[in-house]
Subunit: 191 residues, 2 copies
Amino acid sequence: MDVKTLCLGVLTEGDKTGYEIKRCFEDAFSHFFGAGFGSIYPALAGLSRAGLVSCRSVEQDKRPDKKVYSLTAAGHRLLVEELMATPPRHKVRSEFLVLIYFAHLLPPERLAWIMDQMIARWRQAVADIETCTTAAEGLAMTPGMRFAAGYGRAMLGAALAYVREHQAELVGAVAEIAAPATPEPLPLAGD
Amino acid sequence: MDVKTLCLGVLTEGDKTGYEIKRCFEDAFSHFFGAGFGSIYPALAGLSRAGLVSCRSVEQDKRPDKKVYSLTAAGHRLLVEELMATPPRHKVRSEFLVLIYFAHLLPPERLAWIMDQMIARWRQAVADIETCTTAAEGLAMTPGMRFAAGYGRAMLGAALAYVREHQAELVGAVAEIAAPATPEPLPLAGD
DNA sequence: ACCACCATGTAAACGGTTACATGATTAC
DNA sequence: GTAATCATGTAACCGTTTACATGGTGGT
């Protein structure tokens, strides 16, 4: 599954410009799928060439023209086909956890800073989901959207809880390794 | 942060062959970082060229020679530098959640199958973490490794709990959308 | 017989990120 | 005046994934 499929997907909710699609991605998918202009615009161009979306230019005063994309019947069909054929993968790529894994190679202050960063970011992410769901309240919100939002909240909550509970423990343990209670000089300096 | 850095990282635990490094990745990092032979072997070759790891060939009987890599002093220094310079990112890329988000476009049976798949996979992942941590019990397990394993367990537990609790709700809501006109009253309908 | 494990590598394809390029409007 | 928003696109770069290529051992 690539950005093209996601574009077809958001267009089922109504016609949109490339710019608006990016907004959609940020609001709805940001915690489980990322995409920037550099992948959205080429994707849209490709879909248009393939007849899976149609495109009309809309003039605006005091702004450049915008291109509004609509899903075609063929596009809708392909979307469903692709969704049916997509194996349910779920990958995490976390530099944060790599850093944690090698915590003993870092100064304790750096480690504490890293965890504070993540806590702050996750807090923000929870707030963003809350904002989006209350903003979409009353509007057409499918069961899937609700489920995905709830999943995001649950995961972020669990992550925050785990880090908060084990943060002090980890920093303490690493500090002990870095500066052991024994004043014995370690021979591991190695140059 | 790329595969090269991770290779340097696992080599701090002791000398290893490319094959063993891949095993390490699977055991320790699989729930937050992925890498296959196709990225590990070229990474090791590059590190060797740059003098960040050294390499010695070991003959084996009845097996092809293996190349055992060791971290050099320069490699260790670069690793720490890289870890210090790495911003703590944490990205999820989930085709599963995309599928869920567009649940209303899928047949309810498919949706149920998708969730069953994820539940099974996550259960397996929990079991794998348990196996690895008990296997490494008593051995050198750094605080960071324990933290990362615990984090994995916590996240998988939360994911499983959330999906289990909201699975029926979602499938039910989607089934209603898929077949809205059924005048058939539900068995427990009190509304 | 066939599959999994051990063991190493290459090369092409694919897709995403980042930087570049342009330019007007509105709000602080 | 400086930043953010609206609005579109290209091109180089980077790294991963996947498929290919080889080959002996050990288990069901």
